[in-house]
């Protein structure tokens, strides 16, 4: 998997590169829009992390140029402005995701992973992690032979975690996908919901599936 990081702020570019490399991505870095366009037209990338505020040609313009050239590489926009309008503008210009700065590294990685896997996403109606299954049509959850009652929100949370099974899910990403909040509400809503969900799916079972990665988020997987 090869990712292009376009970010003019050197330190940010550097830790993003390191973090993605640690997740075994091959990473190329550009510091301005023109270089990014040149790189994207010569190398096929699996995803592009694109800062909006760049010297010279800005991120939105790079994105529009890419799409005009029929380049459909998934793009994650980064922005320090963090306006709802900007998010909409970015998605309309052809971006696949948007992350306001300052972001959490785990959020960024999770989103880049989601982008690179988008095409191969699990489309089956039954999701399965170990002996936990979730039917996306009937919304029925089951662990072993025990049926688990879920509220609507819990169902959405579990579905999201199961679809991203094995991958770290940051709080902001969960808020966005499960609650449709594009802002940080400053509450511990996610943590409280996860705790409840854990009581339902993990409490009575020896093998724990839902794990907390301290300070970063949650991950649903079989082994600890």
């Amino acid at each position: 998997m090869r990712v292009l990081v376009v970010e003019d702020e050197k330190k940010t570019a550097s830790f993003v590169r390191k973090a993605l490399q640690a997740e075994s991505f091959a990473v190329d870095v550009c510091h301005n829009g023109d270089d990014a366009l040149a790189a994207a037209s010569t190398t096929p990338f699996d995803a592009i992390v694109l800062d909006i505020m760049l010297p010279g040609r800005d991120g939105i313009s790079v994105l529009k140029q890419l799409r005009e050239r029929k380049n459909s590489t998934p793009v994650l926009l980064l922005s320090a402005r963090g306006e709802v309008n900007e998010r909409v503008e970015g998605l309309n210009a052809g971006a696949d995701d948007y992350l306001p700065k300052p972001f959490e590294l785990s959020e960024l990685i999770a989103r880049v992973r989601a982008l690179t896997r988008r095409s191969g996403e699990n489309k089956s109606t039954t999701l399965r992690v170990a002996d936990l299954t979730l039917d996306t049509l009937t919304h029925k959850a089951q662990r072993g032979n025990t049926a688990i009652e879920l509220t609507a929100r819990e169902y959405r949370l579990l579905e999201f975690l199961m679809r991203s099974a094995g991958r770290l899910c940051g709080r902001m990403m969960i808020l966005e996908k499960v609650w449709d909040y594009s802002f940080d509400p400053g509450t511990n809503l996610v943590d409280v919901y996860v705790r409840r969900l854990r009581e339902k799916i993990d409490a009575d079972f020896a093998t724990k599936l839902l794990h907390t990665v301290r300070g970063e988020g949650y991950i649903l997987k079989e082994a600890a």
């Binding site: 963090g82 306006e83 300052p102 959490e104 929100r153 400053g186 509450t187 409840r196």
Partner: protein, 358 residues
């Protein structure tokens, strides 16, 4: 006493004195002097014949003319004052409407080129200067919050990178975690500041659409139940009438969640929270009541102030950026609504939000 009444009275008094003086002078001119002339010519005849009738006549004439004239003067004075002071009234009205949000508006001039016009001009130029200063402060806050984002991004990223390194010692790990927590808080503050600074500058566009407010309230109530559970707080949705409003879905959800979260955070263990949505006087009224230590009346008006933390005993234990209620207030006023907090010390606190219905 208004200037108008006072000036009218003075004017009437002066008018009256002037009339009296005129009367006395007239008396001298018309009665005393001719008589002295006559006296000089006919010294021998009727020596002391000062006719008392003439004196009374003149006094009578002066009084009978003077009183109506004085009354007329009062009325005329009243009218004159009213006319000349009218610009003051309109100046007062116009000035009353000025707040920090509309300093850019001008007070309309009378166009007469008089003293009041000059005063209005001076007022307007003062407003322009104030507007300028306010804008500079807003821009400063906006720039400051933007400028903080890049170093914050770097700090957070580098702290997280350090945490990912498995070789670091437990002490270092603990320190990095604590730093990350504070960085997260700082991020929230900076985000809140950016939002408010943008709102002040009129740069936040709301996406207004017809919404079922009751659905948003129910949604928020579901979250409230979950948030309240760990503290064993009882929650109740008293009423949820079907009401539509024109609003920004994201912002209204942010508002409701913020108020619900506060109702849980500032509560007693095993307390209560009740939520309701009703139609009241043609408005959609959301009420959130919680059992709490209450807010002392002297700080009640300040709870919407930015970074205001009322309960100093609570202050350090409760997480938050100190901007929640300021943001809530902005969201409500951006929807042309009203938000109020009432509190009965050591009993309950009631937050009321009124929004125009669609």
């Amino acid at each position: 006493m208004t200037i108008r009444t006072r000036l009218s009275l003075w004017y009437a008094t002066v008018m009256f004195i002037a009339l009296m003086v005129m009367g006395v002078l007239l008396y001298f001119q018309l009665v005393i002097e001719p008589r002295q002339e006559a006296h000089r010519h006919h010294h021998e005849q009727n020596e002391e014949a000062v006719d008392p009738d003439v004196f009374e006549d003149v006094t009578g004439i002066v009084l009978s003319c003077g009183i109506p004239a004085a009354l007329l003067a009062v009325a005329g004075g009243w009218w004159l004052m009213k006319k000349s002071l009218a610009p003051v009234a309109s100046l007062t009205q116009a000035t009353e409407k000025i707040t920090a949000q509309n300093l850019g508006e001008k007070i309309p001039r009378t166009g007469n080129g008089d003293e009041f016009d000059r005063l209005t001009e001076v007022f307007n130029s003062m407003l322009a200067r104030l507007d300028d200063s306010f804008n500079r402060i807003r821009e400063f806050t906006l720039h400051a919050s933007h400028e903080l984002k890049t170093p914050l991004t770097v700090l957070r990223g580098e702290t997280e990178t350090a945490l990912r390194d498995e070789k670091i010692s437990p002490t270092e790990r603990e320190r990095a975690h604590s730093q990350l927590e504070e960085l997260r808080r700082l991020t929230q503050i900076v985000d809140g500041l950016t939002l408010l600074a943008k709102a002040d500058a009129g740069q936040v566009a709301l996406t207004l659409e017809p919404l079922r407010l009751d659905e948003l309230v129910r949604d928020c109530f579901a979250d409230l139940q979950i948030l309240a559970e760990p503290q064993h707080i009882q929650v109740e949705l008293e009423a949820c009438e079907e009401i539509s409003v024109r609003g920004d879905r994201h912002r209204l959800r942010q508002l409701l969640l913020n108020l619900a979260d506060n109702a849980v955070k500032y509560n007693q263990p095993s307390g209560h929270v009740t939520m309701s949505l009703r139609r009241a006087a043609g408005l959609a009224e959301i009420k959130i009541t919680n059992t709490s230590a209450g807010i002392p009346p002297e700080i009640l008006p300040r709870v919407f102030d930015r970074f205001f933390r009322g309960d100093s005993a609570h202050g350090n234990t409760i997480e938050g950026c100190g901007l929640g209620l300021s943001i809530a207030q902005w969201i409500v006023s951006a929807h042309a609504g009203k938000i109020q907090i009432a509190s009965a010390p050591s009993q309950s606190t009631i937050v009321t939000v009124q929004l125009p219905t669609a």
